[in-house]
Amino acid sequence: MCGIVGLYLKNPSLNRELGALFEPMLLEMTQRGPDSTGFALYRDPVGPMRVKVVLQNPALSFDWSTVAADLTQHFGCDIDFRVQHTHCLITVSATEAVVREYVMSDTAPYAVVSIGHHIEIYKEVGLPKDVARVFDLKSVQGSHAIGHTRMATESAVTTAGSHPFSTGSDLCLVHNGSLSNHNRLRRKLAKDGAVFRTENDSEVAAQYLDVQIRHGLSLEEALYGALKDLDGFFTFTIGTSDGFAVLRDPIACKPAVMAESVEWVAMASEYRALASLPGIENARVWEPEPATVYVWEKGGQGRQATTTLARAS
């Protein structure tokens, strides 16, 4: 059992309340996943020649200024860095590929949690209320967020094994369920260039999507491929730079509820995680169909979002 929550704000004037609206959703899912907690925040986008990297080191005394100095010297540019608990958000003026290659080194004294232009992932072992507090989730501003509360089944309870899993530029994945064919698929994906950091089955799903997208598939195509190639139980929520996607396996044992109002779109493992959202009484509430990809993306005009979820055929 695990808990998943996602919130996308259609009305940008709510952006300053993202954390305040999102934190109660995540905390409501504590019973479904009390051993680790994580969330992906989409906020403060940077231009194509700037990159946001979230790094992690378990020691609270870790000297991040040394890492910052090293990156400043390597990239020959000023960098911004902000430490929050065990994580450090660093913004570098360089292309994503160059930054990725440098920080994904085996000898680096930190783990890479996320890389992108919008996304920041924060995750730790512990109860949702404790993890939310150390990263000050309630005061976060932004356009959307994906969260996960974990009850581990397939691998150890560690920070690296916590969700969300970054799946390439600005994409991330959270998973409720368990995959049966992850060992074989991991070997196959490793031959295709995927680098695995854990024994976790959900990381395999994340890497699967990353490999498919690198091969030129759209997110929707990659998700329909997942229905064919992944064996097991899953409800996935995938965060994207401008929205999120939801997919349930064809058996659909793992729960999911979606809701949409004029102000926001949300998903959760259970309705009770949505019950605190403003205007929920008048929102459309429904259960996503099995084996169907739901994609929410903002429309072409600025922050104006489309008003219905696109159900791919």
């Binding site: 064809p250 058996i251 659909a252 729960p255 509820v257 259970e270 009770r272 995680a273 019950a275 429904w286």
Partner: protein, 236 residues
Amino acid sequence: MAGTQSTSPVRTVDLKVATVRELNQALHELAEDGAETDWKILNAAGNHALAVGINARCRVEIMGHVGYYCAGMNKYATLTINGNAATGLAENMMSGLVRLRGDASQSAGATGRGGLLVIEGNAAARCGISLKGLDIVVKGSVGHMSAFMAQRGRMVICGDAGSALGDSLYETQLFVKGKVVDLGADCIEKEMRAEHVEAVEALLAKAGINERAQAFRRYGSARKLYHFNIDHADAY
């Protein structure tokens, strides 16, 4: 109990104030042969196990969406839920009436023994799984694997049915007005005779749903899976 107002003949329980445990305890304390009472439950907010295990003649109205296993094991009581329901609505209900105004998630009415379950919206996968005598009327459609291994009782589905309807069916009778994606193992279409039209008419009337009983098709067990086949005797 906190959150209870007893000035009116309807006992109102606000779940913003009272706990689910307090609510269920109060309902359990009703005597099986006592006078019929009326209850209104406010702010359901997706809480699990609401109004489970009632064993008395009472009317309970729930305001809002409910979580898992609402109205489970219900005996005698009439429940109305003004919202959607999560997994396992009215699981193993024994008798009485449960009416859901919205949509039901998976396994609604699972293993139900008796009474009537009315779902005015759609039901998701595995509706009526292992049914044992309960009647279910669904105004909308049902998801895949509905009536899986269903043994007794009847299901009336006014919309469509998902794939593998009635897989490994025993003696539950299935009536569907819309399309059936496909039938499960040992489930076949059967003739809709006058007595079946009459039965569907009675169930629709009881459920308060206005549909023409003649428009339904009947599905049932081919009885090849659960009966010993003498032609296979040589195989043992």
